[in-house]
């Protein structure tokens, strides 16, 4: 098949985003930009794993942050209790993945037989129970305050990866080769690997079966695929990936709390990213996550200015206040679902095909 004009546009956007993320520490030399770049990496993985569910298989789950949280809290609790070492990271990650697998299998087997709507409700209920549990079991999880901990020495800002003759941190193009850089590339590389694995899965025969289930469940069953088994499998798979992403994020942030790893706000972010980027294509996850995270960090500043400019008008300043940015995103979200259900990536890729 000849690549279309739209597909080329999307793929070149991918290359640009990948390049920007790869060289982020050198291109944008301030702490906040690096924070944004790392968050984009993590959310690309998280959104892509959610897209495996919603876009490729047609399962709507509201428990995705729960798995993300399992991973994050697994690492965080292990690092806090056992001290900052690689074995705590490994053990915590494994524990998070194991817990995610067990819970995902249980939810999947019990409720993936039922309608999409039932499943959405059940996952929503499960996720909210876990959120409440996390804030109640404060001896283990730190409650609302969360947990702060130290990560392996390699990732300390004071760690010198390379030194010059004077024993100071070596600089490359003005960037200090310190532990912060190592931590960023740890995030980048694990995210890249996880993303590529998911990309490989979507083009494998398994991916085709998943799409068949999404398009016509009864027919897939009639051809001889066990729909419940496939659904449960993909639910577990995406849970494991989300959990791994959570562990990486916990190592990067050195802090884990309900707001960064479990809250329903993250679930809404993921939903917005998937829909804005485009469901049913891995590229959509990349575009959605990049745009949304940028918006989260930089749009608010803009809205603050707009709110001050309209201070004389009724209600408008309240709606334009930086805290109300979700209001506008919600409206954009609804309009997108109406008019461009395939999101940015899907719409672009379809445009070329028609021409």
């Amino acid at each position: 098949m000849k690549p279309t004009y739209g597909t080329i546009a999307v793929k070149s956007a991918m290359l640009v985003i990948a390049a920007l993320l790869l060289f982020a520490p050198f291109l944008f030399q301030d702490i906040r930009a690096l924070e944004v770049a790392a968050r984009i990496c993590i959310f690309i993985v998280l959104v892509a794993s959610y897209d495996l569910l919603i876009g490729y298989t047609g399962i709507v789950s509201f428990a995705h942050t729960m798995f993300f949280g399992f991973g994050a809290y697994g690492s965080a609790i292990a690092l806090k209790q056992m001290g900052p070492g690689w074995e705590s990271v490994a053990l915590g990650t494994l524990a998070g993945v194991a817990l995610s697998l067990i819970v995902a299998t249980a939810i999947g087997l019990i409720s993936l037989r039922v309608k999409a709507i039932f499943f959405a409700m059940i996952t929503l209920a499960a996720a909210s129970v876990v959120l409440v549990l996390a804030s109640q079991l404060s001896q283990i999880t730190g409650g609302e305050d969360g947990i702060t901990y130290r990560t392996p020495d390699l990732f300390k800002t004071a760690t010198k990866l390379a030194v010059d003759e004077d024993g100071k941190v070596l600089r490359w193009f003005g960037v200090k080769l310190n532990g912060k850089l190592a931590a960023y590339y740890f995030v980048f590389v694990t995210s890249l690997v996880l993303f590529l694995v998911m990309l490989r899965i979507t083009v494998s025969p398994l991916g085709t079966v998943l799409k068949a289930i999404r398009e016509n469940e009864a027919r897939a069953e009639a051809i001889g695929y066990r729909v419940v088994a496939y659904r449960t499998f993909v639910f577990c798979l995406s849970a494991v990936v989300a959990s791994l992403a959570g562990s990486v994020y916990a190592v990067w942030l050195k802090y884990t709390g309900p707001d960064t790893a479990l809250s329903f706000a993250i679930m809404i972010d993921i939903l917005l990213m998937v829909v804005i980027g485009g469901m049913g294509t891995m590229w959509g996850a990349v575009i959605g996550a990049s745009l949304m995270v940028m918006a989260q960090y930089y749009l608010r500043d803009l809205m603050g200015a707009a709110s001050e400019a309209t201070a004389a008008l009724p209600l408008l300043p309240e709606l334009l206040a930086p805290d109300r940015w979700l209001f506008w995103l919600g409206i954009i979200f609804i309009l997108l679902v109406y008019f461009f259900p395939r999101g940015i990536a899907g719409t672009l890729m379809a445009r070329g095909q028609r021409a």
Partner: protein, 330 residues
């Protein structure tokens, strides 16, 4: 032998006996009759308020096959509208029971009116374009929920709002050593009245006949020349108004409300409709009472389990009956 037992149980009411069984088990476990009565009344009143919120959701699903994830927005709006009206009429609340009950009635009516209007808007603007497309329905109604929550935050702010309530609903009614909060009894009465009203509407009127026929076979009702779309709008508005009423009652019960109220109640509402079986009013009532009773009994017997109790209850019932206790015939 087993057959005989289940036959007898079925004749006595089948799954309808569950709340009674629950109450009986709790009576033995709690031991003290007076606390048992208090807890049972509390459970019933919570169940009735949740029933108000959940019935609309269930009805809309049964008739239109639409699950509105934005339903909790109506609950929140109902609560805040009622709180605003009550606060505006706070002088009435102190001026004798006539004025106080007028203020209460106005507050509840304001919530209902708001629910009707918001329901009309929601149905025609948000949901109409995505009938029969579950995935987009979930997404769109979720988007609408986000927007509504932000509107509530923008209008009422993020700080808790206190809800004044009429003096005659304050305090408790004490019989012997049993004390029952009057507001709870009021909630039970109102919930029961709404339930009876809905049953009469559905089973004894022509509109109810059409609604039930629409649940069974929508195409046939359309083919016979009835405008089912209008019926949909009516049912949706009714459901939203009931949610707003439930929210208003809940606001009076909690007396201090935050914008998170709708989201918190939504989880309970979902659990109730899943347990009861989507689409049936009797099922919703049954589910609501079971959830209300369990929450209160467990809260007394084993407070640490209270959080997970609803979830465990739902899992257990789904394993036993995958489509709920009393699903609508489809």
């Amino acid at each position: 032998m087993m057959n005989k037992v289940s036959e007898t149980l079925g004749r006595l009411g089948g799954v309808n006996l569950l709340p009674l069984a629950l109450a009986a088990v709790a009576f033995v476990l709690i031991g003290a009759p007076s606390s048992w009565v208090t807890l049972t009344v509390a459970g019933l009143s919570m169940g009735m308020m949740v029933f108000l919120m959940a019935s609309g959701l269930s009805l809309v699903f049964g008739l239109m096959d639409v699950l509105n994830f934005g339903h909790s927005a109506f609950i929140s709006f109902g609560a805040f509208v009622a709180a605003t009206v009550l606060a505006a009429l706070s002088t009435w609340l102190d001026g004798g029971w006539m004025l106080a009950s007028a203020a209460l009635a106005l507050a509840l009516l304001a919530a209902i009116a708001f629910g009707l209007a918001a329901g009309l808007f929601f149905e025609t603007v948000i949901i109409r374009p995505v009938y029969r497309d579950h995935l987009r329905q979930i997404l769109i109604t979720m988007g609408a929920l986000i927007v509504s929550e932000q509107i509530i935050l923008a209008v009422w702010g993020g700080t808790p709002v206190s809800v004044p309530r009429p003096a005659f609903l304050e305090g408790a009614w004490i019989v012997g050593d049993v004390s029952m909060e009057i507001y709870r009894l009021f909630a039970v009465g109102l919930g029961a009245a709404v339930f009876v009203g809905l049953m009469v509407l559905l089973n004894r009127t022509r509109i109810g006949l059409l609604i039930r026929a629409g649940v069974e076979n929508r195409e046939m009702v359309e083919a016979l020349g009835f405008k089912i779309n209008r019926l949909f709008i009516g049912v949706f508005m009714l459901g939203s108004a009931l949610a707003a009423l439930g929210g208003a009652m809940w606001a009076g019960y909690e007396t201090l409300i935050t914008p998170a109220l709708g989201g918190e109640m939504m989880i309970v509402v979902f659990i109730v409709v899943i347990i009861g079986g989507l689409g049936s009013i009797e099922g919703t009532l049954l589910g609501a009472i079971i959830v209300g009773l369990t929450a209160n009994y467990i809260g007394y017997l084993a407070p640490k389990l209270a959080l997970a109790s609803n979830m465990i209850l739902m899992m257990a019932i789904l394993m036993w009956r995958p489509s709920g206790l009393r699903p609508a015939v489809k």
